[in-house]
């Protein structure tokens, strides 16, 4: 989608650590445009929260 390619050079992602916990990480783009997809209704991850997306 061309529209998504114009948005949000930064954003929050999540990583599952070895102990099973999930940690948020802040990502900034050095190149390119990071455009996170809209939240999926089927996901169980905290990454599904639109408020965390930029």
């Amino acid at each position: 989608m061309a529209e998504s390619r114009k948005t949000a050079p930064t954003g929050t992602q999540y990583v599952r650590l070895d102990d099973g916990s999930v940690k948020p990480i802040k990502v900034k783009a050095r190149l390119g445009l990071v455009a996170f997809p809209e939240k999926s209704e089927t996901s169980e991850s905290p990454a599904k929260q639109p408020s965390d997306r930029k």
């Binding site: 989608m1 998504s4 390619r5 930064t10 954003g11 992602q13 999540y14 990583v15 599952r16 650590l17 070895d18 999930v22 940690k23 990480i25 802040k26 990502v27 900034k28 783009a29 050095r30 190149l31 390119g32 445009l33 990071v34 455009a35 996170f36 997809p37 999926s40 996901s43 991850s45 905290p46 990454a47 599904k48 997306r53």
Partner: protein
Amino acid sequence: MSEIVTGLLAKAYIDPSGVGGSTWTEVKILGDVQLPSSHNTGKVKERGSGFEKTVLGQKVNQATFTLTRRVGNANWEAIRDAYLNKTLLGFAFMTGPIATSGSEGWQFDGVIVDFPIAEPLEEASTVDVVVEPAAESTVEPSYVEIA
């Protein structure tokens, strides 16, 4: 002080929901990784110059890595199934842990274009996986740094 990145320190991650879609999980069953990146180029030849010059076009990215064929491993199954089913996977190839500030690297939603299984007689069976950015992704490939 600057840090030297080695393959042992670098980390690879996948997210079956795509980049930013859900949660990164480290892939520990891969060895060597190659991340070729280049530009398409166009040549400019003008009478006013004694030199042929170049204009840059689109970037061409790819990732290749050697994956150990660990049957039953969740990451093996995720990558295998992405190949078999032609589905997209989010990939992150970082200089260190993705949760560590300052780690940097490529992230993109990829499709697995090559999945050649090797079964050497006396060594571990491996696959030299080739991944390329997926046209169906809604996320542009990006070189990112963890803030």
